[in-house]
Amino acid sequence: MDRMMGSGSAVRPAYAGSAANREPTNLGDILERVLDRGVVIAGDIRVNLLDIELLTIKLRLLIASVDTARELGIDWWEHDPWLSGRDRELVEENRRLRRRLSAIERRGEAIDGGDSTERYDRYRDHAERHGDVDV
């Protein structure tokens, strides 16, 4: 973790401002933007960040700030689905359901010999839309 921080070496913005106390673009600033901000696309898509279990990354990047935030009386983690226990249970339950669904689908496929992949995809999409926490 340490190697990616603090060096301050970085990509400079393509267009330079003139504020005297501007600092060069550091990786932390970039990461918090590309991981947490901008347009999120769900649904008809091959891969999106929300599908990937980012818990470890999010924790590594953010959890150490919890103490600082607590000092400051900020309670954002209560509302962060990746970090609040309640939503993590939902995510876990969703994952269990998806696994069961997948197993049932496979069994169905074996029985009727048909291709149920497409059907499973539809179920999966549906489960994602309705079961997943809104991130």
Partner: protein, 266 residues
């Protein structure tokens, strides 16, 4: 099928040239109904779900990919109104991206209109937890009403003097943590309000991990401000003026409008 389409951003115009994207791959555009999507063709061996699960845990890979993604977004945003898309947004093929632009074109156009002619600035405020934080330069005179009780610092500029700094530390330890905490919060609120007045929109992000910023002091404010291009200088001046009296202000930018294009679409 071994390739997929990686989406960086949706913008108003196409650039004549664009820096290389993720995995050093060339970036191209897909145009549709007054919108341009910036994409790369990526191999699924690297950008399929399974591969990404592993890669995203590799901090070197993540850093390199994040920088490449940002480099493209940054170049596009410098030239045309741009909505950055979140890291590793991967479509099966170009057809799906065209479909997105068709279906959600109005949403994109609305967001692009909002950020047009404006740029995002990041403002972070830091304080040394061991030292006291005053109400800020000019806070007693500007009538905002959130100044702290008690005989606080006398109008800024003193943070650099060793004697003053010592007295501030001494005072902070006497006051106790609760009061310091309250003052820090009030100060952060004051800075954010003052900057928001100059901005078309503002957003207060969570404080950044001290290890990410490479600093050991408190981050009391992590703000993002969407500022009209003509007001850049005024904004930077105001940001600098809000520092002092125990608080250090750092300004970053201009950024692509990452904080003001947050939307979820299916």
């Amino acid at each position: 099928m071994s390739d997929a389409t990686y989406l960086y951003a949706v913008a108003r115009d196409a650039l004549p040239e664009c820096p290389a994207g993720v995995a050093d791959l060339p970036v191209r555009t897909i145009g549709r109904e007054g919108l341009v999507a910036y994409v790369s063709t990526v191999p699924l061996e690297q950008f399929g779900e399974q591969a990404l699960r592993r890669s995203l845990e590799d901090m070197d890979w993540l850093a390199e990919t994040a920088r490449a993604h940002h480099r493209v977004v940054d170049a596009v945003a410098a030239a045309t109104p741009t909505a950055p898309v979140r890291l590793v947004t991967v479509y099966d093929d170009d057809g799906h991206v065209r479909d997105l632009l068709d279906r959600r074109g109005d949403d994109f156009l609305r967001v692009l209109a909002r950020v047009s002619g404006r740029r995002e600035w990041g403002v972070k405020a830091y304080a040394d937890p061991a030292a006291g934080v005053g109400p800020g330069p000019g806070a007693s005179g500007d009538g905002n009403g959130e100044s702290c009780p008690g005989p606080s610092a006398s109008g800024g500029g003193g943070a650099g003097r060793p004697g003053t700094a010592y007295l501030q530390r001494r005072r902070a330890s006497l006051r106790g943590r609760e009061q310091v905490r309250r003052q820090v919060l009030q100060r952060a609120d004051h800075i954010h309000r003052a900057l928001s007045e100059l901005a078309a929109a503002s957003y207060r992000h969570r404080a950044q991990d001290p290890r990410l910023s490479g600093r050991h002091d408190w981050m009391l404010l992590n703000g993002a401000y969407l500022v009209d291009e003509g007001r850049d200088a005024e904004f930077a001046e105001q940001a600098a003026a809000l520092g002092g009296d125990g608080v250090e202000i750092r300004v970053t930018g201009p950024w692509a409008p990452y904080s003001f294009t947050v939307m979820e679409m299916g």
